[in-house]
């Protein structure tokens, strides 16, 4: 999956970009009211609905991975300068994926660590790894098998935001959760 697609997922945009497939799950027994017939217009499609319960990620199936509205849609954890401390929002995101991954031992992920452009390249490579490992540690504590997780650091070599200001740096200090095959 391209970085662009990931950004869109992260932003939680419901508008779907090309290449990002939304495969809704149809639940049996769902009541669908047929719309009243209108002469000139073609019949609108039946509404497609899904409901998610926060904390119940373990019950999701893999189709949730391609749904930009699912609790698994956020896949980037952000960090402060020179830090690998995970904040509350990050812990929430990590928790959702950890519950899901623990229930799906057949799935594996790559945790990709990144840094902003400030500081030396090699130190930032190490910092990116430390951030990814901090995320891995939290996932393992919540029952994910370490074998499901691969850690890779790109340091400052793969920024998503190319400006040279705090707004861009904040977006670049990150760990991305990448599902293998999704």
């Amino acid at each position: 999956m391209g970085t662009l697609t990931r950004i869109i997922l992260v932003a939680g945009l419901l508008a779907l970009a090309g290449g990002c497939k939304f495969a809704p799950v149809k639940k049996s027994g769902e009541a669908i009211e047929p719309p009243p017939p209108v002469a000139e217009q073609p019949a609108p499609e039946a509404p497609q609905e899904k409901r998610y319960v926060i904390g119940e990620e373990a019950s999701l199936d893999v189709s949730a991975l391609s749904d930009p509205a699912s609790p698994l849609a956020k896949r980037v954890i952000y960090f402060e300068l020179d830090s690998s401390q995970v904040d509350e929002e990050g812990r929430d995101i990590i928790g959702r994926h950890a519950r899901f991954l623990a229930a799906h031992p057949e799935l594996s992920i790559v945790l990709e660590g990144h840094a902003d452009e400030r500081g030396t390249r090699e130190y930032n490579l190490a910092l990116g790894e430390r951030r990814a490992k901090a995320v891995r540690q939290l996932m393992v504590l919540q029952g994910v098998d370490p074998k499901q997780i691969q850690v890779i650091s790109f340091g400052e070599e793969r920024p998503v935001a190319l400006d040279h200001n705090e707004a861009a740096w904040r977006l670049n200090r990150r760990v991305e959760i990448l599902y293998s095959g999704y």
Partner: protein, 436 residues
Amino acid sequence: MKRRFLIPLLALGLLLAGPARAVLTIEITQGVEGASPIAIVPFGWEGQGAPPEAMHEIVAADLQRSGFFAPLPEADLIARPVDPRQVNFANWRALNVDHLLVGRMAALPDGTFQVQFQLLDVLKGTQLAGYSIRSRLPDLRRTAHQISDIVYKAITGRPGAFDTRIAYVTVTGDRKQQKTFRLAVADADGHNERIVYESSRPLMSPDWAPDGKRLAYVSFRNGRSEIYIQNLLTGQAERVAGFPGLNSAPAFAPDGRRLALTLSKDGNPEIYVMELQTRRLIRITRNFAIDTEPAWTPDGKALVFTSDRGGSPQLYEVAVGAGGPAGRPQRLTFDGNYNARAAVSPDGRHIAMVHREEGRFRIAVLDRKTGRLRILTDNRLDESPSFAPNGSMIIYATEDNYRGVLAAVSVDGRARQRFRLQTGDVREPCWSPFKR
């Protein structure tokens, strides 16, 4: 030429032969006050047509770039002697010129060239140096750099570093996905750029082997950081470290047989030394912190490295024994809360580093004799310092209008130059050793 790079097979470990573009241009942004005036006369020419290289221009540019010489503008030359016997010293003394370089070049029947020159002391009216060099057409620029080295040595008493090269990384491509990373080698004056490796994946941390024939670097060609050593003469690249985790920050030992590197295979980034022939690893650091960016001292007995074991990145030094560290690492830097990516001067006295001050990253030099830290640069994001093999200048990466460019500064901060690339970013310069 660009089209050839699209062929993936060629992209792997390729040394381009043949003439190359001169894409780096150098400007002197600050010369040294009191630079020594020298007159460099156009060399005489015995051969068909125009001389194949303007030797005097190459030498004059070299000497001016060093900051220690002020070549007389060609238009101000009062005479154009090509031999010491034609020199009237009194006329040159009147121009306040300290030294005079005269020379001549002759095309020989076998296609080679005979280059002769004399360096003259104008005040004393004596000859300081005189040589005759046989050269070939593709080597004439190099011959001119060697003349610059001889002049520099004869006048300053220190070896010149004009006949050396720099390796660096360039990045071109649009702002999204299609980036191209290139490892390039050019003459120290920016001419004769050769691309030695190209990839769509990130590439970083080039380091010269002491023999000047190999480069170590970090490549993400397999999706994560690994260390390769590439032979510049054959183009062949060999992966020397592909362990789980980080494989990065390669640094050839002065003996050329060992490579210091950073591996995180045992949990977190630690410094190791690899014996290249046996691939045996010796672990040097053992700490929960980040330990990386090893740099050898010139005697090959110790490593200066970056560690945040004290809470912020600082430089430490550790002696390297046969089977591990010889003693505990000693902290070297105490000014500020970010000192990283050391480069040790060839005489061991100075350590250049990236130093953060008020959120800005500058190149600073620690004088180990006095303990003083001197900040040499004043930009926002200066990094990757590398000493010239004669210790005269430090080349580093900086930016101009948010574009990566290279610059150089003398250790005392008096002379400055800037290297410009026509397109894209240029970063991570590494100055070659004398050998090639």
